[in-house]
């Protein structure tokens, strides 16, 4: 009986060990994947940033008075930019971004978003809407940006 059980246990242990630990190569591949993910997140954010600033530029430089479409173009493109920030933060919180990249690349952006961009965005849109009698209900609600504030609390306010 024992002759039968020992190989089975050895097999199961071997399987578990290989399942829950990484070889050197697997670890290297894993880190490379985290790094690639970080690069992609940064590139995607840049794309949203371009869209956002294009909408803002169009509004600012328009020869005639900017109209309702121009206003809502800023609102929508701004939302897309902040949504991408949320995606980055979700990825950070679920452990899918390289640690050094979080510290050097993503945190400076998220810090700026929380401290400057998000509040200025909502304040400015409200002011413009009031001045121009535009129906705009957007306000900065923390619960809409849970992961962004989550990352901020975890990495910025404690440092």
């Amino acid at each position: 009986m024992l002759e039968f059980i020992i190989p089975v246990i050895t097999f199961i242990l071997g399987f578990l060990v290989s399942r829950f630990t990484m070889t050197k190569k697997e670890r290297k591949d894993h880190l490379a994947r985290l790094q690639e993910n970080s690069n992609k997140l940064t590139a995607d954010l840049d794309e949203k940033f371009q869209g956002f600033t294009t909408a803002l530029n169009k509004y600012v430089q328009k020869k005639d008075k900017p109209n309702l479409d121009d206003f809502f173009d800023i609102a929508t493109k701004g939302d897309s930019y902040f949504s991408q920030c949320k995606i980055i933060c979700d990825s950070i919180l679920s452990g899918n971004v390289d640690k050094t990249a979080i510290k050097n690349t993503h945190i400076p952006v998220i810090k700026d978003v929380v401290e400057k961009t998000l509040p200025t965005f909502y304040n400015t849109l409200q002011e413009i809407a009031q001045k121009k009698n535009i129906e705009y209900q957007g306000t900065l609600k923390k619960e809409n940006y849970k992961s962004i504030y989550g990352v901020y609390d975890k990495y910025v306010s404690q440092s």
Partner: protein, 77 residues
């Protein structure tokens, strides 16, 4: 490859998208730095500095400054 070129351009503040040859060179250098025990992020940056002559020519990080400046201008319209 085009995606990677764009990512590298943003990540390392390059003026132009790097060629496939340069990317290959960057990848090899990064891997060789990693094999000496340097972590991936630092290895990538060191390799980029060595391979791309326009390394950190543009700061893509100051997005907040651009956005808040444009918002301030928009308020005046």
């Amino acid at each position: 490859m085009a995606d990677l070129a764009h990512s590298l351009k943003i990540k390392y503040g390059l003026l132009n998208s790097p060629s496939e040859e340069k990317i290959k060179l960057w990848r090899e250098k990064t891997e060789s730095y990693i094999s000496t025990g340097i972590n991936a992020e630092e290895a990538g940056a060191k390799a980029a500095q060595a391979v791309f002559s326009d390394y950190e020519s543009i700061k893509y990080a100051a997005q907040a400054d651009t956005i808040t400046a444009l918002l301030a201008e928009a308020k005046k319209r």
